[in-house]
Structure formats: C-alpha cells, structure tokens
Symmetry: C2
Subunit: 405 residues, 2 copies
Amino acid sequence: MALIVQKFGGTSVGDADRIRAVADHVARTRAAGNDVVVVVSAMGKFTDDLIHLADQVSPTRPPRELDMLLTAGERISMALVSMALSDCGVESASFTGSQAGIITDTDHTRAKILEMRPDRIREALDAGLVPVVAGFQGVSTERDITTLGRGGSDVTAVALAAALKADVCEIYTDVTGVFSADPRVVSKARRLAKVSFDEMMEMAATGGRVLMLRSVEFARRHGVPLHVRSSFTWEPGTWIVEEDPTMEEAIVSAITDDTSEAKLTIDGVPDRPGVAAALFRKLADRGINVDMIVQNTGTNGLTAISFTVVRTDLEAARATCDEVKDEIGATLVTADEKIGRVSLIGAGMKTSPGVTALMFETLSSHGINIEMISTSSIRISCVVEAARVADAVRALHTAFGLDAA
Amino acid sequence: MALIVQKFGGTSVGDADRIRAVADHVARTRAAGNDVVVVVSAMGKFTDDLIHLADQVSPTRPPRELDMLLTAGERISMALVSMALSDCGVESASFTGSQAGIITDTDHTRAKILEMRPDRIREALDAGLVPVVAGFQGVSTERDITTLGRGGSDVTAVALAAALKADVCEIYTDVTGVFSADPRVVSKARRLAKVSFDEMMEMAATGGRVLMLRSVEFARRHGVPLHVRSSFTWEPGTWIVEEDPTMEEAIVSAITDDTSEAKLTIDGVPDRPGVAAALFRKLADRGINVDMIVQNTGTNGLTAISFTVVRTDLEAARATCDEVKDEIGATLVTADEKIGRVSLIGAGMKTSPGVTALMFETLSSHGINIEMISTSSIRISCVVEAARVADAVRALHTAFGLDAA
C-alpha cells in the first residue's frame, strides 16, 4: 500500500463536472489500496477574479490582506472536492494550509515554508480519511495567513509529500506530461516518460511551463518522486526522479524556449576588477533578477557586458545601467526586446562532446544568428532573434533526433 | 472615547463602491475619537452562489465541508474592507472567526458560540488598528471551521461587543432602522427612534425582518445596546436598549406580520392529560418547530388543537398528526396554508387594558375574521386569512395612532 499525494491544478477543478471527475479518480486510487492526500488549487480563474476585485477596491492592496483574500479560492475548491468525495463513498475532510500545519515566514504573497507540522493530516490518514488540503497557503510565525506565490500549490503538494514520506507526488494538470519541446511549437514533440530532477530544473528555468523551478528544487532536495499527468485523460504522464546511474541517458532530452526576456548591453566598459560587481550589485538592490550574463573582452582593454532580464524589468534595468554608465566609464547602453532563448537540455550531455557544435551548425544552417551563449553541465542556451525562436526549436528538435516517429 | 462594533451586512459590502463607502464611514468614526471593530458578512449574494455551487457538485453536502465552503465569503469581504481602510489611512487587519477566538460547539451549519477569546482583537485595538472580523463563522472545540446559521453575522457582532465591553453594537443594513410596521405594507409606517429589547424580541419572533431573534436575545442577555441603521444614508437609526423605567412607554410600538406559516388542526381529541404531550413530543423529536398553539375544549369532552408551523415543515407536521390521530383517538386532521399572523407589540400594553378590545373591534369592523389568538404581556397576535393580512396591518396601524403625520 502506497501513500500518494495528488495535486489538482485550477483547470482540474474548474467546474462541478471536473470536481466530480477528480473525486472519482481519488476514489479509484483509494480502491486500489492506496492512501491518498489531495492538494487543490483554486477553481479555474477564480484567483484572477479575486485579484481583479482587489484592484477595484484598493490601489495599494496591502499584502497581508491580499493573502487573506486569495486564500478564499482554495477554501472553496477543497470543500467542494471533499463533498464530491463523500458522494463517492470516500470519507474525507478538508484542511486549510494553517490546519495542515504549513508554517511559513512572514513574507506575504511569496512566503517560504519554514516548517511542516502536518499532525492533523496524519491523524486524518490514521482515521481512514482522505485529507483534502488547500494548496498555495500557509500560516506565518506571526499567525497570519500567507500565500506561497506563483506555483505555490505544487510547493504545498511536494512539501506535504516530503513531510509525510509519501511514495509519490502526482501533479495533475491540463497537459499529459512533460514534452521534448512545447507541442504548440513543435508538432512532433514527444511526451517524456522520465526526466531527472536536474533536467527538469534546467527546463523549468529556461521556459518549460509545466512545473515551476521552486517545486522541482524542493522535490529534489527531499527526494520526492514527481509524476506529472493529465486530469483530463488520466493516462500515465512523466516521472521526475533521481538520475539512475545504471541507465544510459539521453544526450538531449528536451528543447525549451523562452521569449519573456529582453537583453541589455553596456559597451566600452574598462576591463578592470569591480566594474561588473558595481553594476550587478545595484541591479540586485533594486530587486531586478538578472538571468544570463555574458562578457567579452576585446583587444583594446574595453569590454562589453550583456545580460537578460524579464521584459517587465527592462525599463528599471535600463535606467540602472544609464546611472552606472558614467560611474564605471562605459560608453553606451543598448536594449533589445526582440530576443528569445532556445535551450538544449540533457543529462547525457556531460559525457557527450559535439553537442554544442551540432547545435551551432544547426542554427547556422538555418540562417539563425546567435547573440549570446551560456551553458551548464547539462544545458546549452542560445539567445537568438525572437522571430526565429520557433524555427530554431523545430530545427534542433529534428537535428537531435527527438521528433516522434 | 467609545468602543464601537460596526457590523455591515451583505448589501452594505455588495460591491467595490460600497466597500469603499464603508471604509470611509469607519475612518470618520475613528477620526471622531472612537475605537472601532468591524464585522462583515459576505458580499451581496455570494453565499447563495456558493450554496448553488455546492448543489451542483454534491447532493449530500456534508455539513463540515459546507461550513468550510461558506466561510470563504466573509474572508473575501473582510480582506477587501481592510484594504479599503488602508487606502483611507486607517491601519487595520482582518481576522477569521477562528483568529478572533469565536469558539463554538460542533453543530455544523448552525453552531452556537460557547466561548469568546478575542485576544488578537484586543491586541489589534491596543496597537491602534481597526480589526475587521469575519461574521457568521467560528472554530469548534474540535478545531473545525463552523458557521453560526442564519443571522450569524449579527450574532458575531453582538458577541464581540459583549466580550470587548463595547459601548454600542451598530448593525448597518439596507433599511434606515426598525419601523412601526413593514413600510412595504404600510406607507405611513414610521421609523422608531428607540425600542426595548423585549419589544424587539417580540417583533423578531413575529415577522420583523430587520434583526433575528437570536442576536437580540444575545444582546439583551449581555446588555449590549444595538443601533440598527443604514449604510446607504448613514443617518441615525433605531436604538434597541434596556427598557427605561422612568419613561412613559408607548402602548403599541409596532405592528408586525408574518405569512410564512401554516396552520394544522386536530379535531375530536379526547380531553384528557397527556394527549397534547404525545403530539408535541413527536413533532419535537422530528425537529419540527411549533409556533402558536391554541386548544379549545367543547362541552362534549372533546377538544380541538390548532398550531402553526413554518410552511416548509407543513407536510412533515401533517404526516406526524396523521400518525398520532389514531393513537390519541382524534377524528380529523386539517391543514390551512393560507393564513397569516398579525401582531401588536408594545411595552406599555402591560398597564393598558382595552388594547385587545380595540384590536378585535378594528379587525371586525374591517370584516377580518380571527382564526387563532395568542398573547404575551407585551404582544397580541391574531391569525387571519393570508389575503387579509395587509389590510389588517394597515387598519391596526391607523387605529392605534401609529400613522406618520
């Protein structure tokens, strides 16, 4: 008998029919001899509706109250799922984040979990119930209601699975798993049966939309196997697990793309210690998250620094660059919004030379110019013109043998 | 400096504009030098929407989960009111029933308050905040979320006012106070400046729609003055207070009407001890609330028992009567759905003979037949044909000198 945490996203509990389908699936999982803990998001777009309501009422939206407001969403879906379970003959009880013992810091709207005390969840399991837990929310050390920020319901599910030593954390969503590329871009994209935590983290960080980096990191740290699958087809999806050293790994597992960023370049920077530090310290102090950074030194003792930020931070980042330009004696700041990033990800890349070469050759043969490059041991990313991102993904998908038969 | 509990009903927080108006009023009350605790209901018809959603999902609606679901409503309105207060420059924080220390029994969907532990509310007041508390909800001795049933938000407000020893509990609603009769029935109805707890309880029990009996009882028991007023005009409304023995009391303060009940009559009942007990014990065991009871004994040793129940209980009550008919040797059970009750209420009635006579004469002169009569020291109620209820109320309003000039 296994203990399974099943997390259902907003589309999975989007209306009364879907909620009943979820309850039916939980009942079947239970009938197969497993213990189940359910974690739910708010229904469909309900959280967005609440944010809209808050905007109508208040220009400032104090974060403590925004959290109080938004946690109404899961309260509704969890009570409804629990009701539907009861109609399937499964005894259950719903629990808020607070009741489930999810203790967070006091950083409202993006709180971090400090401690898990799921005593009531354990009691409910021992009593033969299916606990239905609100995702996305917790209670702070100051006893105030908090939310965990974007992707927070996945974090709740993984944290509960870790605390309860569950055998697997199933993440139900509206896609059937993790694909070798975005199926909207590459029609021949294949569902991956298995992905390592490291690969999944690189995918999440470079534009993979299925899971947020944060929940994958959490799952890896606590060794919680994830299973991403569809609540519409209920077929097996993609397992995200520890790398198995006995298996031969795919050289390239997936290709991700991300067109949400913009590029800034500072030219004519004197090549001396501390110059880059001055710039990136100031950006960090202003809460601007820098993603890729590339620096090239020319022969004249001057250097160019390019970096990418999410496009919504572009103006703030450009203003910061303009400020430090004179301080550090640079000559020019330029911005480019029309960029995109294409990334190859594969755990087998570590031991396979030639991947970089094939990637560059493929892009070149399609007339796609590379503007920036960055690599990790299991990833190569290239920044290219935004308009060519889809072409690049398709070309690489074919070149690395990922196309479905 | 006074401590004022201000409770806002569903229409008072029905949309973003109304919520901002509420915040503005609270800010003014504060600026006038008072401490304020706010209690809110769910916005407009939101609770009804949630019940509709529950009906779509589940035919059984387990009570624990229904409570979890319904408490989402106040969570939304209280967070929004708190946000709006912040925009008015008033520091505030919202609190759920559980956070406000409202401890109830475990009778879900109609829990009773067992204990008030409003420590966090006191702390918030001491810190100079305006606490905004969810009405209608509490937490049970089993640590589950409960709701207080119909009129529960008023109960929350009164209970908080009692526990915090507030100077007054203001109940804001969509009418400007308590009237001498329903203004929809009697165009010349007057707003009453002051009503005693006893009168208000009789009014609540006989069809007055402004306050539920339960919250008036609670206020009287704890000596909390109530002030019922409008959140649309903000003008002073009706005070509900302890009777002031030094004042001369109006003989008749108000006339109420109620057409929600039906009448059942059992005829040919042997007039011996225990017969009525057998009937009303069985009705009570089935959860059927009996309101008026009248029994008349004839000369032949047989008696007729008539009683009223809310119309939704009529079929269950009739079935019960049919069952006991043979047991107690009665001959006939008849039901009448087309009845209504008209009541005269006034604390001065105790010392004024002739009120009953004038009431009967007035009804008689308008050709209205009286089917049942019941009295208390400050109330006379007559059951009449439902179609004549409005005529009866208007005639009595005029006869007892209540018409506005």
